[in-house]
C-alpha cells in the first residue's frame, strides 16, 4: 500500500512490525541485492538448461530453485568473472545430484559414442530436408539425445556458448566438448532424417 494513505505513527508502527517479522541486517540486504544483480540476468538460461536436462517443467523449476539456494550459499566464493557460467555450473551439478536421487536409471543409460547411420532419405539432397526441420521435430530430436550429448548441444546451439565455457560448465576438456558435439550432431541428424522423412513432413 502506498505510504501516502497511512497516518504517520501507524506507518512507523507497521515498519517496526515488518522489521520484526523479517530480521535482516543491512549487510545481508546488500549481499542479497548483489546476489540478485548477478543471478537474475541468467535465470532464463538456468531454467532453459534445467528444462532440457530434466525434460519436465516442474522438475526444472525444482532444480533451478535448489540451484539458486546453493548459489546463494556459495555466493561469497564467487569471485566475479562469468556469472552465467557460474550459475549454469551450479544448475548442472544440482541436476546431476537430483537425477542420482530420482532417476538413477537415466545415468546408467548407455550412450553410444558411435554415429548411427541411417539410409539417406533419397530424393533430393539431405541438407534440404534438414533445413526444413521444424521446431517441433527439432525439439523431439534434442529431447531424444542422451544426456551427455543433450547438455552440450543445449549449451552450444541454444545458449550459443563457446567451447571454453561449455567445457567449464560440464567439467570436461574442450576436446571432449568438440567430440560430443560431433556425435550429438550425428545423432540428431539421423533422428531428423529418420523421423522427418518417415513422417512425410515437408
Amino acid at each position: 500500500m502506498p505510504a501516502t494513505t497511512i497516518p504517520f505513527p501507524l506507518f512507523r508502527f507497521k515498519e517496526a512490525a515488518a522489521a520484526r517479522e523479517m530480521p535482516r541486517d543491512r549487510e545481508e540486504d546488500r549481499r542479497r541485492s548483489r546476489f540478485e544483480a548477478v543471478v537474475l540476468p541468467h535465470l532464463d538460461a538456468a531454467y532453459n538448461l534445467a528444462r532440457w536436462l530434466t525434460r519436465h517443467d516442474e522438475e526444472a523449476e525444482d532444480v533451478v530453485q535448489t540451484a539458486c539456494l546453493r548459489a546463494l550459499r556459495f555466493f561469497d566464493g564467487f569471485q566475479g568473472g562469468n556469472a552465467r557460467s557460474w550459475l549454469l555450473t551450479i544448475v548442472r551439478n544440482t541436476f546431476y545430484s537430483w537425477v542420482a536421487q530420482h532417476r538413477e536409471r537415466e545415468l546408467d543409460a548407455p550412450f553410444d559414442e558411435e554415429i548411427h547411420t541411417v539410409e539417406s532419405a533419397g530424393g533430393g539432397p539431405e541438407a534440404e530436408l534438414l533445413r526444413r526441420a521444424d521446431a517441433e521435430l527439432l525439439r523431439q530430436g534434442f529431447a531424444a539425445l542422451p544426456l551427455p550429448f543433450r547438455e552440450v548441444m543445449v549449451l552450444r546451439e541454444i545458449e550459443g556458448l563457446p567451447y571454453k565455457e561449455i567445457a567449464a560448465i560440464a567439467g570436461i576438456p574442450i576436446g571432449t566438448v568438440m567430440s560430443r558435439l560431433a556425435r550429438a550432431r550425428g545423432h540428431l541428424q539421423s533422428y531428423l532424417i529418420a523421423n522427418g522423412a518417415a513422417g512425410g513432413r515437408s
Binding site: 531454467y47 533445413r131 526444413r132 525439439r139 534434442f142
Partner: protein, 278 residues
C-alpha cells in the same frame, strides 16, 4: 548414409567440421579443411547437411522459458522481494520517514496536521525533483525500466514472442497479462516491431514491446496508467548510463521507451501520433 565424413581419418575430419561450424577452428585448421572440402564430396556433403541443421535450429525457438508463476516463484527464491515498490523497502521508508519529519518541522504544525496529504511523501522522497511533475516512484521505476531493457539485451533474447506482426504479438500478451494494450506497427517509420516480452516493473507484470531502430533495440514498456499517470502532453525525458528514457501517458496507459538509439524521439513521436488516431 551420406552424412559421414570420409573414412580412414579416424574421425578427425568430422571433428574439424564440427569446430568449423561453431567458429572454433583455428586458421590453419580452416585452411586445411577448406582445401580438403574441394576434393572430398563426402565431407562437403556432411558440412552442408550439418550447416542446414544448424540453420534450422537457429530459426526454431528451442528455448524453454519459465512461465509467469514459475518466474515469480523463482524470483522469490532469489530473495528478491519481487520488484518491491520503493515505499516497501525498509531503508527507503526510513529515509522517507525522516524526510517527512524534517519537512514537517520546517513547515510547522499547520502543514503537519494535513498529513498525509498526497503530496507530502512525494516531496520528501525526492526533494531534487520537486519542481517537475515526476512522481516519487519515478526514479525507482526508471531504474527498473532500464534494468528490464539491459537484462533483455544482455540475455541475447530480448523477446519472449518473436514476431513482426502486431496481430501475433497482441494476442500473445492477452494470454499473459490481465490488461490489453495497443500494439503499434512502426515499420513504415523505420522501426520494425521485433516482438514482445513480459517483465516485472513496480511489482507487477508488464508488457514490453521490442522495436528495432537501426542497430539498436528499443524497449517500450506499457501498463495501465494509475497513480503514475503523467500530466501534460510532452513525454518526460531522462537519461541514465547512456540510455535515454521517455515516459508519457496515453490511451489509458503509462508508456516508457528506453534505448541508446539516437532516433528514440522519432519512434516516440510515431507511436504517439498513431495512438492519438485510434
Amino acid at each position: 548414409m551420406s552424412a559421414l565424413s570420409c573414412t580412414g581419418d579416424g574421425g578427425q575430419r568430422e571433428l574439424q567440421i564440427t569446430a568449423y561450424l561453431d567458429g572454433e577452428l583455428d586458421l590453419a585448421g580452416v585452411l586445411d579443411l577448406e582445401r580438403h572440402l574441394e576434393e572430398c564430396p563426402r565431407c562437403a556433403e556432411l558440412l552442408a547437411a550439418q550447416r542446414a541443421m544448424q540453420q534450422a535450429i537457429g530459426a526454431a525457438d528451442l528455448r524453454f522459458r519459465p512461465t509467469l508463476p514459475q518466474a515469480r516463484r523463482l524470483r522469490r527464491t532469489l530473495g528478491a522481494p519481487p520488484a518491491e515498490p520503493w515505499w516497501r523497502q525498509p531503508q527507503l521508508r526510513s529515509i522517507a520517514a525522516l524526510l517527512l519529519l524534517a519537512v514537517g518541522a520546517l513547515a510547522g504544525w499547520g502543514a503537519g496536521r494535513r498529513w498525509p496529504a498526497p503530496a507530502a511523501p512525494r516531496t520528501s522522497a525526492s526533494p531534487q525533483t520537486q519542481a517537475t511533475p515526476e512522481t516519487p516512484a519515478t526514479p525507482a521505476i526508471a531504474e527498473q525500466v532500464l534494468a528490464s531493457h539491459l537484462r533483455a539485451q544482455l540475455s541475447g533474447h530480448p523477446e519472449d514472442v518473436v514476431s513482426t506482426d502486431r496481430h501475433t504479438v497482441k494476442p500473445w500478451f492477452a494470454g499473459h497479462l490481465d490488461y490489453s494494450l495497443p500494439v503499434i506497427d512502426l515499420a513504415a517509420q523505420g522501426f520494425p516491431l521485433r516482438g514482445g516480452r513480459l517483465d516485472y516493473v513496480g511489482g507487477r507484470p508488464v508488457a514490453a514491446l521490442v522495436y528495432q531502430a537501426g542497430n539498436h533495440l528499443v524497449s517500450v514498456l506499457v501498463w495501465p496508467a494509475g497513480r503514475d499517470a503523467v500530466p501534460g502532453s510532452a513525454a518526460a525525458a531522462s537519461s541514465s548510463r547512456g540510455f535515454k528514457l521517455r515516459r508519457w501517458s496515453q490511451a489509458g496507459m503509462t508508456w516508457w521507451a528506453v534505448s541508446d538509439a539516437d532516433s528514440l524521439d522519432d519512434l516516440v513521436r510515431g507511436l504517439r501520433a498513431q495512438l492519438s488516431q485510434r
